[in-house]
């Protein structure tokens, strides 16, 4: 108690110097907490976007993750409804699962032959259960996205309605029909080029006949989707385009087609057994992912099914890369702050020791041990660090509140529309306590060299010091 009382009084001797040093520590804390808050917000925003669209975990047929996207029809999960039912009824998983839903990947060629148009392009499609997707889009564990307003485009009961990427709409010349703003009309085709993907005449006829069988009573434009079935036979379906669902990555946006699961299954499996390529699980909490994954793997092994489980980090390497990048930047920033604090505290404490040399000699002559001298100066460094770090925490919280109420907007990576610029409250213990304790520790350790010098000084020399 006396130690810290003395330490506090000693650092208040030269107030200006102590305030400057504590302020530098505070700046360190402020910078680390603000950047930590920013990265926390980025991670939460990215994770939310990915989990809303793709869930936390996906169950695939073994080998699908590496080889399936090129030929999804070959990697269908047999009797997927039973598998889903068994997963959902598992006592461990049941309480963790928010949504469990099947998906069917499909690749092929999309064409627009309405009103004399003749545009086609390759697509990567996904067959979904719309109501499940609507529920998934409402997931917001971290409060990092705007509340989702269901637009029923995905859960439209019409079995042949779906969404396409903005790029797909642009290339198929559907921007006008879909009222997509800032969407240019494609230039007229160059006849001589002959490289544009075009439907085989026989398939175009098939498309025309399919069109003839589809209801054209709605106002939604219609496109034709061509793919190969699991048996290798060509198949084609028509899709009424309910709207555009812009994807965050251009390559994906230029190929994205979302359709009802039944339509995708019809396209891929025709009259054969309807399977799915994936069973997506969205959990209530991301922290349950390891447990849920382990449980799924155990169940799959128990059921002896040829399935594999992937989590959203594996499915989205971009997320892992962003986390790694920001973590590296945070580490770099932390190192800079540590160096600044280190030099500031060393400088201040060295001057303190120098100015108090005679006093050190006095108390040593009175019977204070060397270790006690060292402890006193270390305590002064710790108090300086604690004062600065505490000040930094307070200022950081005020600054974050100001930023969050400033009305700033931005479009973070992985998002398609601007959202309010928010900083997450740095309440995670690893960030808040880590920063505070880290800076106090750095300030304390920075005091060690001058404290050792003070402890080692000879009493008679110290007493003679002017």
């Amino acid at each position: 108690m006396m130690l810290f009382r003395l330490a506090i009084r000693n650092i208040s001797r030269n107030r200006r110097r102590s305030i400057m040093t504590a302020s530098l520590v505070a700046v360190g804390a402020l910078a680390l907490l603000m950047f930590g808050a920013f990265t926390t917000y980025i991670f939460a925003g990215l994770e939310t976007g990915l989990v809303q669209r793709g869930g936390h975990l996906a169950v695939y047929r073994s080998g699908y993750f590496l080889f399936g996207p090129g030929n999804p029809a070959a990697y269908g999960i047999d009797d997927y409804q039973s598998v889903m039912r068994d997963i959902n009824s598992d006592p461990v998983l049941h309480d963790m699962i928010n949504v469990i839903t099947p998906t069917q990947a499909v690749v092929g060629i999309a064409g627009n032959f309405n009103g004399g148009a003749s545009a086609s392009k390759t697509f990567f499609g996904i067959g979904l259960v719309g109501t499940d997707q609507e529920k998934m889009r409402q997931w917001n564990e971290h409060g990092a996205s705007r509340p989702y307003v269901p637009d029923n485009r995905l859960s439209d009961p019409a079995a042949s309605r779906g969404l396409i990427g903005r790029g797909v709409a642009r290339m198929l010349g559907l921007c006008g029909a879909l009222h997509v703003p800032n969407c240019p009309v494609p230039p007229p085709p160059v006849e001589a080029a002959g490289n544009a993907p075009a439907l085989d005449p026989a398939l175009a006829d098939l498309a025309q006949s399919e069109q003839g069988t589809q209801s054209a009573s709605g106002t939604a434009p219609q496109i034709d989707l061509l793919s190969a079935t699991a048996n290798g036979a060509p198949n084609i379906v028509s899709l009424e385009v309910a709207g555009v669902d812009t994807q965050p990555v251009k390559e994906l946006d230029d190929n994205y087609v979302a359709m009802p699961l039944a339509l995708a299954q019809q396209l891929v499996y025709g009259r054969g057994e309807h399977k799915v390529t994936g069973i997506v699980l969205q959990l209530h909490r991301t922290e349950d992912v390891p447990v849920a994954r382990a449980r799924l793997l155990a169940l799959i092994a128990e059921w002896k099914l040829p399935l594999e489980v992937r989590d959203f980090r594996e499915l989205n390497p971009f997320f892992v890369q962003v986390v790694a990048l920001f973590s590296l930047i945070f580490l770099f920033l932390a190192l800079i702050m540590v160096m600044i604090v280190l030099f500031a505290v060393v400088n201040t404490m060295t001057m303190n020791v120098l100015e108090r040399t005679a006093e050190i000699g006095t108390v040593r002559a009175m019977g204070v041990r060397r270790a006690s001298i060292r402890r006193l100066f270390l305590a002064e460094g710790a108090v300086l660090g604690a004062l600065g770090a505490s000040l930094g925490v307070v200022v950081a919280f005020i600054a974050i509140a100001l930023v969050n109420h400033s009305g700033l907007q931005w479009t973070p990576p992985g998002n398609t529309d601007p959202i309010p610029f928010q900083l997450a409250w740095p309440t995670r213990p690893v960030l808040l306590l880590g920063t505070w304790l880290g800076l106090v520790l750095v300030a304390t350790l920075a005091t060690l060299p001058p404290a050792n010098r003070a402890a080692r000084s000879r009493i008679v020399d110290a007493l003679r010091h002017v």
Binding site: M2, L6, R9, N10, S12, R13, A358, E359, T362, V363, R364, A365, M366, G367, V368, R369, R370, A371, I459, V460, L463
Partner: protein, 228 residues
């Protein structure tokens, strides 16, 4: 008479101390042997540079001789470890410095209390003894004041109280009146004499002050590092 009362409080046996200044060796103390009996008011006198302070430092266990032996209250202090020596100083020796050397961030009360903290004296006992000592030196009213709020004489009184509060066997004072005016110096001299008699402590001074010399029970004259 008890053994403690008859054992010399200080016994120096042929001690010598040489300082190196650059490449020059300067003998500060040369072959000094002396004994100081308990409860006496001793003075070491001599011209500047004669080795008074070096001798006092070795008696006070804050410097060690190059050769010879030092016993304080019968304890061979040269055999003690650094920590043991610090503890020995804390128990046995009180210091009064020429420049007072009070701790500026502590009040008069806390400065006097400080040596008792080093001895782990219980809080209530510390308070009682500190207040009694401040009363004895006439500074009870200034207990809460910090050194920068005290006059030179008051500071030296606090320093005397600090040196005596732990009831040491030995109080060492290096030119305790040199920084004081003559009136204040005289009152401090009288105070120290009174305290020495009251607490039965041995006082050893280095001084040029004739008033202090006049008060001495025992005087050691030193010149060129040797007793004369």
């Amino acid at each position: 008479m008890s053994e403690a009362a008859t054992t010399p409080v200080v016994r120096l046996d042929h001690i010598a101390r040489t300082y190196r200044v650059g490449s020059v060796m300067i003998p500060a103390v040369r072959d000094i042997t002396l004994e100081i009996q308990p409860r006496v008011f001793s003075v070491i006198v001599g011209p500047s540079g004669s080795g008074k302070t070096t001798l006092l430092n070795m008696i006070g266990c804050i410097d060690v001789p190059d050769s010879g032996g030092v016993e304080i209250r019968g304890e061979d202090v040269l055999r003690l470890s650094d920590n043991a020596l610090a503890d020995f100083r804390a128990r046995t020796i009180g210091y009064v410095f020429q420049a007072f050397n009070l701790i500026p961030v502590l009040s008069a009360f806390e400065n006097v209390e400080y040596p008792l903290l080093l001895l782990n004296v219980p809080a209530a006992e510390r308070r009682r003894r500190t207040l009694a000592m401040l009363e004895a030196v006439g500074l009870a009213a200034q207990a809460k004041q910090r050194p920068n709020e005290l006059s030179g004489g008051q500071k030296q009184r606090v320093a005397i109280a600090r040196a005596l509060v732990k009831e040491p066997a030995l109080v060492l004072a290096d030119e305790p009146t040199a920084n004081l005016d003559s009136v204040t110096g005289a009152s401090i001299t009288a105070l120290m004499r009174r305290m020495q008699e009251e607490f039965h402590t041995s006082f050893i001074f280095c001084t040029h002050d004739p008033r202090l010399m006049a008060e001495a029970d025992q005087t050691f004259s030193i010149r060129d590092g040797m007793l004369v």
